[in-house]
Symmetry: D2
Subunit: 339 residues, 4 copies
């Protein structure tokens, strides 16, 4: 397949490598920074083009959007208008309003757009979803998600990415709905600045707890932190009427030292989330190109991205008000999490 890449930064280069490794042609790369674009071009032979011209020229069958978050919506809208399928990193827009506009436009035009909620392609999370689907836990009652990052990202990134709830949260709000195949109803949330007071400048928090009620009554809890002293920590647990499913990242500790005082120390070669989730980006790309080839709808529709942002927005309001806050899912097709 002949693809174009929008955004030649860190995430863009990752996509470029995956595109080549999967045997696709990277026909064009679009980035306002000529140096970044040139680097991707050198590595892959892609032509450096301005996005509008590239779409007008029909240079690519599909577009992968990996620009900074604030630029996603404009690039995606251009693809929609040109009738070119696209795979877009989350979030869809710079803010909820922008995301809503994009989703509306895409729906009106019947556009083919996939949002890259790549954690859906993690094999462990996949095993959990299969288990729920097969009925291994029965009716879902309690869902717990932990996401604690290794370290606080730069303040500039926090501001541009949408902060704890839209940036980190979106992945896990989506996971909760996708794993249980349910839409959310309401949210209660609390946020704190416990170790990173400078986040006040971005009106953001370093630590948050969110309780989300799902359509059939199950309670989900999210515990988010921008910094776990011991490294990246992500866990999912789903309890229902018949059992429980759990998984964690990193999956385990590889080497054990049993000390003379009887304490067992378990250590593993450290891995970053980038290493850990690397296969999911390639898998998301495969799912995108495979669905296009077969004329199928996108595996993760735009609505899924919008839904994650709607939950983030409701959680933000709940932190501010201290109140249980409904999540407005009007217009969201349940299939975006339940397919």
């Amino acid at each position: 397949m002949r693809l174009a890449l929008v955004g030649a930064g860190r995430m863009g280069r990752r996509h470029a490598a995956n595109i080549v490794a999967a045997g696709h042609e990277l026909a064009a790369v679009c980035d306002p920074d000529p140096k970044a674009a040139a680097q991707v071009s050198r590595l892959t032979g892609a032509r450096r083009m301005e996005l509008g011209k590239m779409l007008a020229a029909g240079a690519a069958e599909a577009v992968v959007i990996a620009s900074p978050a604030a630029a996603h919506a404009a690039a995606a809208a251009a693809c929609v208008r040109a009738g070119v399928p696209f795979l877009c990193e989350k979030p869809l827009g710079a803010d909820l309003a922008a995301s809503r506009r994009l989703a509306k436009l895409a729906a009106e035009r019947g556009a083919y757009g996939m949002v890259s909620l790549n954690r859906r392609y993690d094999r462990q999370f996949g095993m959990l979803r299969d288990g729920v689907k097969k009925g291994q836990v029965g009716k879902v009652e309690i869902v717990k998600l932990v996401s604690r990052s290794e370290k606080v990202p730069p303040l500039a990134y926090v501001k541009s990415s949408g902060g704890l709830l839209r940036d980190k949260g979106a992945h896990f709000f989506d996971l909760a709905c996708w794993l249980t195949r349910q839409l959310p109803v309401a949210v209660q949330a609390t946020g704190k600045r416990l170790f990173c007071p400078e986040l006040a400048a971005a009106d953001d928090h370093d630590t948050a707890m969110i309780t989300l009620e799902l359509a059939d009554g199950a309670l989900c809890h999210f515990d988010f932190s921008r910094r776990a002293p011991y490294g990246q920590d992500e866990r999912v647990e789903i309890m229902g009427s018949k059992g429980m499913l759990q998984c964690s990242f990193p999956p385990a500790h590889a080497c054990v030292r049993v000390r003379a005082d009887g304490v067992a120390e378990a250590a593993a070669p450290k891995s970053t989330w980038q290493e850990h989730y690397a296969p999911t980006y390639a898998a998301a790309l495969d799912a995108f190109t495979a669905s296009l080839r077969r004329g199928k709808p996108p595996p993760i529709p735009i609505g899924a991205g919008l839904l994650a942002e709607l939950i983030a927005a409701a959680a933000a309001r709940s932190i501010a008000s201290g109140r249980r806050t409904p999540v407005d899912t009007a217009g969201i097709d349940p299939a975006c999490v339940a397919a």
Copy 2:
């Protein structure tokens, strides 16, 4: 030490056995049910007496109160008025108002009363508290407590015991404050009847999630369920600026079967919470009698019991209102959790 026992039911008989095993004399047993009292009397040689007469006669140096929850406060108040030290099962009173009255009375009279929050004597929880105290996790940021029972208790017990928040919750609200040695500030809570609709008759829930803010900003989360399909499940996790501490019940799975499909099945001889926590009841009794002998204040003062009930009451109000609800700790001595 010469002790009397109030209440000869299941919990009373457990106390009777521990009293004898610890080498104390069980001088008297008080229970309105003559059959129950007779059974304890036969086992231990204790005299069957009415509580008022027993106190008047000075039959015991101290009293252990293990009657049904609704009768705790009256028995404790009688001990206070008679100037006899007592160890009382939680909750202190039939409702928060009764508990407040008892706490006030005990404070006015300078009474010696200990509330039996026995989980404080679990060795694993003790290891966690020591770890926090020694600074192993640094400044506490996130606390997670799971408490899921093996099965829903009889409706009559639910009604008399105070329900999910006062009965089960009290232990874990106390643990959260005691492990971190902090008072609470506010609570957000959600409750559901997911599998036990008949709890509506007791205005109670089978599943609840509670987020508690502590004095220094740390966030605690509680996930309570009246029925885990796989058995009793209690876990505590404390993350801070320097690391994380975790423990769980049952502690582990003893036997592993690795199947031909590569799946490892881990199973343990089942143990009930009664077996698991049996040593904590004996340890609580030891702590009570030892502190009396040495003329020390009670290791778990009445204020600790009242604090747990105050959190439960605030959580109940938050479930009803959907709002973040302050916990009123006026008059609670921080030493009751921080000593």
Copy 3:
């Protein structure tokens, strides 16, 4: 049941307590040391009697033999001659010849004798045996047993108990045969004095590895050490054509501390083997009295004790010669491990 106890030392007192707790009458206690006998008598009301007189007087329906190892055979032989059933601690005799003589005598007289290989009553080992019996591992191919003690026993105990192979080894040689329900064929062994040179005085080793071939070809490996720096360590693993079963002691680590460097420290309240295996002594006594009451054969026949000693003797010869050494099982009824 009316029982007598031979031996009022540490192990004898344990049996005395179990006898009383199980509701049996301890009618008599026999110990040449009047002080030891008096202590058991005071605790239980048992009469102090000389063994021969006790048997002649018909003072007990059955006898529990818990004297020092060197005295086992004489006491057991007296019971055989008097026609009184007995439960005997292992080893049967001071040496293999004494054990053979006792087994021969018991067989000739059709005596009821049970040897107390108490690890057979551990619930975890029981789960493993059930798994093998149900075919969970298919045809057994590899068996691994680890037994490392917390500390080197006193030299006097080593000398009287039969040393590493007869004392510690017997339990595990029996377990290997009992778990797989097979007789042994041959053994290869190596012994070392790595940290306890004074064991040379007892011609014993502190560390040994033994490979045992079973009747159907499976290979068992034993790794024995008199001192694990981190505490008692016992593990069993059974691999076959369809899967693997594993268990370990202590079963698990209860509390986990994840440090800032990502290392997870797991610690448990320490337990000694005496605490860990305490329930197995009571269970062995129950099995003994229950089989007597129902007129059934002893659950662990004398042959099982002899078999364990035969393996120990062959292993000792292999250490000395460096050669694969057959285990002579002529006359051993396979039912003693396979029932």
Copy 4:
């Protein structure tokens, strides 16, 4: 660096990919099978050449030997004679005599040759070796190594590779010496054909247990199986006077399902040993080229490969004779495991 590759089969292609990925030039590929050579040539641009001509032409600065085992020694000898450094897959020769001749020749000529015992580059094993070196276990007493493959290799491979002891065993015999930094003294071994009778044709076994005594008295045990029903299983444990170190492959089970009967099922996405050890081949290549560039001696000298084969040969003799068999390490430089 400009490299040549001898052998364009499965292992050769792996090396070719690693050479390119590491940024080296693959100048030439030598394989008698023109199709295999052509495939590597197409992928990498390497010239297809006959080994002798390639060496004569000075086409490469160093050679990677990945031909079938029987052809290793001839290729390595050619490199030695041409004075070209080489990295050779194990075993060195078709049999012990061939390996000895190669080692002798290399020593005489002062050749630069590295044997690719790639497990030394596994990060977990590396953590264990570092732990031993730092004294975390104190004086080593007991070493246990498990190596059970997923399935029996084809009989043709068994015959050409040297069988269970030379093929699989060599890696683990080397690990035992390298982890403890000690030479071996003597070996006791037992071999069985439990599930693969056709191995009789290769005079080989499917299951073996080997006990190896190290220079300072520590006992090592190896349990080898050609087929674990649940998949590849490799484990290492080292106990000493101060503690224990352990690691296992696969390191852990990622997803846990706790069933309604309380059994926890742990499953992980399956990984083959090829996936698991993939990074070690790249790391071995890096170590080889880095040492060449810096003018350092080879990180794994030929002597290490010879030592592993000497242990394998002694183990084979012990299986045949049933006797403890010395390992002749005359002429082996201890530095090959202790550096």
